[in-house]
């Protein structure tokens, strides 16, 4: 057995264990050398990224891969699953790829960005733990394990949101975040307990196989979806998003977006896989609820972004609006799936909608992430984040200006950047569900463009301000991180088909076709 085979075979465990080991060792290495620690974190993330890529390539080719912890025998005995297992299908691999890319960019970005701060040993440790939690959430095949990783993510994020403890706002934002996410996580645990009490199983595939949709199951479904959507920042609970994203250091906002999307992944996994066998019952109009919530999220995000004066909060509301697109698209897919007269369309626009939604997860993280990095760079250079005080920075910060331009065009869906390709899929498919939805979505996009143009004009253009005459371009590591993300945005924007057929379509298929996920239960591993 070659070393590559070994790594591939063990990769689901190693993807969690390697960053975890890194997190445990970071405080120790930090005592020896600061530069060594930064390098160590980047190397750990690079190795994890390598593992994620070989795993993802394998999964896209051959279908879901399971990894059982603790034993190689007696995995399914007496028609029940005893041990914890990881099940990586195309959707999980897709989420893992985007998570690790953005975490890698954030680690490079932090090198210079956080240079003047204290407590960096714990900072890097917590950053790795956030990545662990996020990767665990998307790869696990066990409900309780999902809850544990959810808590790891939220505790690590909360501590990092409140990282600037000398600012009252940051601490308050951290507290809001931990209250919301703890209550959400407890609801999730309650739902898991209800499912466990009825079926005596915790494995997602096993539960999906045996679920009967009793009344208690419906309660569990509502609790799971509400709690995870709350953690994902969908509309009635969108307030914490702006606080958390806006107050955290920019490098943390970056990973937080990916962590939020992991919660949305939880919603989709619950709806399409866990309840996949029963959700097609026509009595449920959950799809329409999702569509309306997505629409509201989009509109409220855009409207709130209009009135912000703080750059990072403005971008955060932009992120809320983008979440709305994802929810809207997947909700459209679910509506098609659950309406009997529409079932014929599932191969048509329902599938297109889900493809668009999933593709948009990737694009949203990249675009909003790039904007956050630019906002962090402005703060780093000028120590100022209010839009009223910034101005004329294009002269001194040429590269940052270019990156912001790329980010703003991508986020508002202008061709030939990546935001356009996924939004086009979404517009086309929701137009077939209801044309009004499509018009509202396009309008929201145009408003986003207007808002960000205004920001661009006020922060970068205009006369040079005397107080910013000393401002220099940000250090190379930050430019490198922004460059990586910007290059990805342009690349995907230029060759969307390549990406859609090879990565997005398998992921969308995995979401719709839950039989693939359950296959190993009956067919053996």
């Amino acid at each position: 057995m070659s070393i590559m085979d070994f790594l591939l075979q063990q990769s689901p465990a190693l993807i969690i264990a390697i960053p975890l080991l890194g997190a445990f060792l970071t405080p120790v290495i930090s005592r020896i050398s600061d530069k060594g620690r930064n390098l160590f974190v980047i190397l750990i993330l690079a190795f994890t990224a390598f593992l994620v890529f070989i795993l993802a390539m394998h999964v896209f080719e051959t279908g879901p891969m399971t990894y059982v912890f603790g034993s190689t025998q007696n995995v399914v005995s007496n028609n029940t699953v005893i041990r914890i297992l990881f099940e990586v299908d195309a959707l999980s691999a897709f989420m893992a790829i985007i998570g690790i890319i953005i975490a890698f960019a954030a680690a490079i970005y932090s090198w210079s960005f956080m240079d003047n701060e204290t407590g960096l040993d714990k900072y890097y440790s917590l950053m790795l733990l956030m990545v662990v939690g996020m990767l665990g959430m998307v790869m696990t095949g066990d409900m309780f394990n999902f809850f544990v990783f959810l808590e790891i993510t939220s505790i690590a994020s909360c501590a990092l949101i409140a990282f600037r403890t000398n600012k009252a706002n940051a601490v308050a934002a951290g507290f809001k975040y931990i209250v919301i996410s703890t209550i959400g996580a407890l609801f999730v645990l309650m739902a898991i307990a209800i499912l466990y009490g009825q079926y005596d199983a915790l494995n997602i595939a096993k539960l999906a196989q045996s679920i009967t949709f009793s009344f208690a199951d419906k309660i569990a479904l509502v609790l799971l979806v509400v709690a995870l959507a709350m953690k994902g920042g969908i509309v009635p609970m969108h307030m914490w998003v702006a606080d958390a994203y806006g107050r955290a250091p920019a490098s943390i906002s970056l990973i937080l977006i990916a962590a939020t999307q992991a919660s949305l992944y939880g919603v989709f996994r619950v709806l399409f896989t866990l309840y996949g066998n029963v959700i097609t019952m026509p009595s449920i109009s959950l799809g329409w609820v999702m569509v309306i919530l997505g629409l509201l999220t989009m509109l409220i995000g855009v409207i709130m972004a209009l009135i912000q004066t703080d750059l990072k909060r403005l971008i955060a509301y932009g992120a809320v609006a983008e979440l709305g697109y994802i929810f809207l698209a997947v909700g459209t897919g679910l509506t098609v799936l659950t309406t009997p007269e529409n079932v014929a369309n599932i191969a048509g626009y329902g599938f297109e909608a889900i493809k668009g939604g999933i593709f948009h997860i990737f694009n949203d993280i990249l675009d909003i992430g790039l904007l956050f990095m630019v906002a962090g760079a402005l703060y780093f250079a000028t120590k100022e984040s209010s839009l009223n005080k910034l101005g004329g920075l294009a002269r001194n910060m040429k590269y940052t200006t270019v990156f912001f331009l790329i980010g703003l065009l991508a986020v508002s869906g202008i061709p030939p950047l990546n935001g356009f390709s996924s939004k086009l899929l979404i517009y086309e498919s929701i137009f077939q569900l209801n044309p009004i939805l499509s018009i509202i979505a396009i309008l929201a996009s145009i408003m986003l463009l207007a808002i960000f143009i205004k920001v661009f004009q006020s922060a970068f253009l205009g006369p040079a301000l005397p107080q910013f005459s000393h401002v220099k371009e940000v250090p190379k590591s930050m430019l490198l991180a922004m460059g990586i993300v910007a290059a990805l945005i342009v690349f995907i924007g230029l060759f969307p088909d390549l990406f859609v057929t090879n990565v997005v379509e398998p992921a969308a298929n995995a979401l719709i076709n839950n039989q693939e996920y359950l296959q190993w239960l009956t067919g053996g591993i």
Binding site: L20, T80, G119, Y123, I152, Q198, A201, I219, A220, P236
Partner: protein, 90 residues
């Protein structure tokens, strides 16, 4: 009564109703419906793990990965508390 209070009241009512229903809908206390997974563990814990204590066998063997996560959560909390009370100046 501002809008936040009304929203809180609605949320509270719905969750309360849910909780009461789930308390009544779940199986009667002491008579679980299904037992496949737990009965397997009770029957095989001594031979498979060598531990007399079924709960420890589950914590460290059958669901050992959860325990790694749990230890990680504690590690995260310690790191978080330390980072919140760190000295701000070098």
């Amino acid at each position: 009564m501002n809008i936040r209070t009304i929203a809180a009241v609605i949320f509270f009512t719905i969750v309360s109703v849910f909780m009461i229903f789930s308390a009544l809908m779940i199986h009667p206390f002491g008579q679980p419906d299904a037992q496949a997974m737990d009965q397997y563990i009770i029957d095989n814990t001594v031979n498979e793990t060598g531990a007399n204590n079924g709960v420890t066998a589950v914590v460290f063997d059958y669901r050992g990965f959860d325990t790694l996560g749990e230890a990680t959560v504690l590690f995260t909390a310690v790191a978080g508390v330390v980072i919140l009370f760190r000295r701000l100046k070098k």
